[in-house]
């Protein structure tokens, strides 16, 4: 099997766990799936503040930020990342989220600028397909 040709311009995705939440199984599974779909995944680990996440995304020149949260603080922390991006003039960076998020909150978060939310039970392929639609060349 010969090595497949790597995309010349791989999409860089920063994955982070924000807030006080040590449940990182989900984010690691997603990281692996995105890796296997050919993306460059930068995983920054647990207990990040919105400022840390945005700062890292800027240094890494990531096009996408993926947030994982199971602590219930998504209504505070997800919009905080979006507003930190606004503060840094970096609203071109797309934010998506995942975790235990009720349907009503999903609608509200989308209104506040989170591009998409993936709740428990989402097939990994759905996340990959969503990214492929956002970045057709990848």
């Amino acid at each position: 099997m010969s090595p497949a040709k790597a995309p010349a311009k791989p999409v860089r995705i920063l994955l982070a766990k924000v807030g006080l939440d040590g449940h990182d199984r989900g984010v690691k599974v997603v990281a692996r799936a995105l890796r296997d779909a050919g993306y460059e995944v930068i995983y920054t680990g647990l207990r990040q503040t919105p400022e840390m996440v945005v700062d890292a995304a800027l240094q890494e020149d990531a096009q996408v930020i993926g947030l994982s949260l199971h602590s219930g603080a998504h209504m505070t922390l997800f919009p905080a990342v979006v507003s930190e991006l606004k503060k840094k003039n970096a609203t071109d960076i797309i934010v998506f989220g995942g975790g235990i998020i009720p349907d009503d909150d999903v609608e509200e978060l989308k209104k506040q600028g989170v591009a998409e939310l993936f709740t428990p039970g989402t097939p990994l392929q759905d996340i990959v397909e969503w990214l492929r639609k956002r970045f057709p060349s990848s």
Binding site: A8, R32, D36, Y43, T44, Q59
Partner: protein
């Protein structure tokens, strides 16, 4: 900061604008000192780099880290996880950390890394720390870019024979035995010392490779490590080695740029549906078509990567 981050993306992607960028920066560039860290997965390289960054920040240096992790050879995808160990430097504007996939660079990692280092230097970061996993040959590329190469070992990596395998002894300017809080680190140092005394393999005969014991998680031995790096830097500069090496590297880099342009032109020439692609299918071997492409390369078209 975003400008710097974007510029590094450009050199990684090998965008055509890279050359203009490098030309524009030429006068601003103060080439930073480059310290390379390599070693097997799990030896504590990222933690060690994190500890060294902390020390350098105490001494008010601006530090950049380029941390490489391997890409999948099949999908090109990668998980770049070195930042996890360096979280305490988040939000410090004098620390710039960039993760880089080690594969999938057309011109090899070293070309992208070298240009990224130059950019970081232009933005005032000095030294630059280049970290790479020793899984294959990318550690050799690090040695080709770094001014001082640090090879990280730990206890329980295997017996003494592992140490005399090609590459490890030759590329190191400094050895670190990390995890010195674990049992067995003395034995690693002893075995290493005896290997080195049997046949000094350092390419620089006048330099005796020091062995530094560290415990990165406890921030122990880091001052000694930095002292060893500094003394290697002075050794290189005093012996005129630094200058000679810089000249040699510029030659190597030029050859790599030529290879990159040629490779790109060759791929264009061999595009599906073209005459040469057809001939290649008929011939079944690359040599005649390669000659043809080389003739095309000598042609008048301006060379654009």
């Amino acid at each position: 900061m975003r400008a710097l981050a974007r510029a590094i993306t450009m050199v990684e992607r090998r965008d055509a604008e890279v050359r203009e960028l490098q030309q524009a920066l030429r006068d601003r560039v103060q080439t930073p000192y480059v310290v390379g860290f390599t070693g097997a997965p799990g030896t504590g390289k990222s933690t060690l780099v994190d500890a060294l960054v902390a020390l350098l920040r105490k001494r008010e240096r601006s530090v950049a880290v380029i941390a490489t992790d391997p890409n999948s050879p099949f999908t090109g995808g990668a998980i770049l996880g070195d930042r996890i160990r360096m979280q305490r430097h988040a939000l410090d504007p004098k620390v710039f950390i960039r993760s880089m996939g080690a594969r999938g660079h057309l011109g090899g990692l070293s070309l992208a890394a070298r240009e990224a280092i130059r950019l970081l230097g232009a933005f005032g970061f000095d030294p630059v720390i280049l970290e790479t996993v020793g899984v294959g040959q990318s550690e050799l590329e690090v040695a080709a870019v770094a001014d001082t190469t640090v090879v990280v070992l730990t206890p329980n990596l295997g017996d003494g024979v592992q140490m005399i395998k090609a590459g490890i002894l030759e590329i190191a300017d400094i050895f670190v035995v990390n995890k010195a809080d674990l049992e067995g680190h003395q034995r690693v140092a002893t075995e290493l010392r005896s290997m080195l005394s049997l046949a000094p393999k350092s390419q620089d005969k006048a330099w005796k490779q020091p062995i530094v014991a560290t415990s990165a998680t406890r921030q122990e031995g880091i001052e000694e490590l930095w002292a060893a790096i500094e003394s290697h830097r002075k050794h290189r500069e005093a012996g005129g080695k630094a200058k000679a090496q810089a000249e040699q590297r510029l030659k190597d880099e030029t050859a790599e740029v030529v290879a990159e342009i040629a490779r790109q032109r060759a791929r264009e020439a061999l595009a599906d549906g073209g005459v040469l692609a057809e001939r290649l299918r008929e011939d079944g071997t690359p040599y005649e078509v390669a000659e043809e492409i080389l003739r095309l390369l000598r042609g008048p078209r301006e060379l654009t990567p």
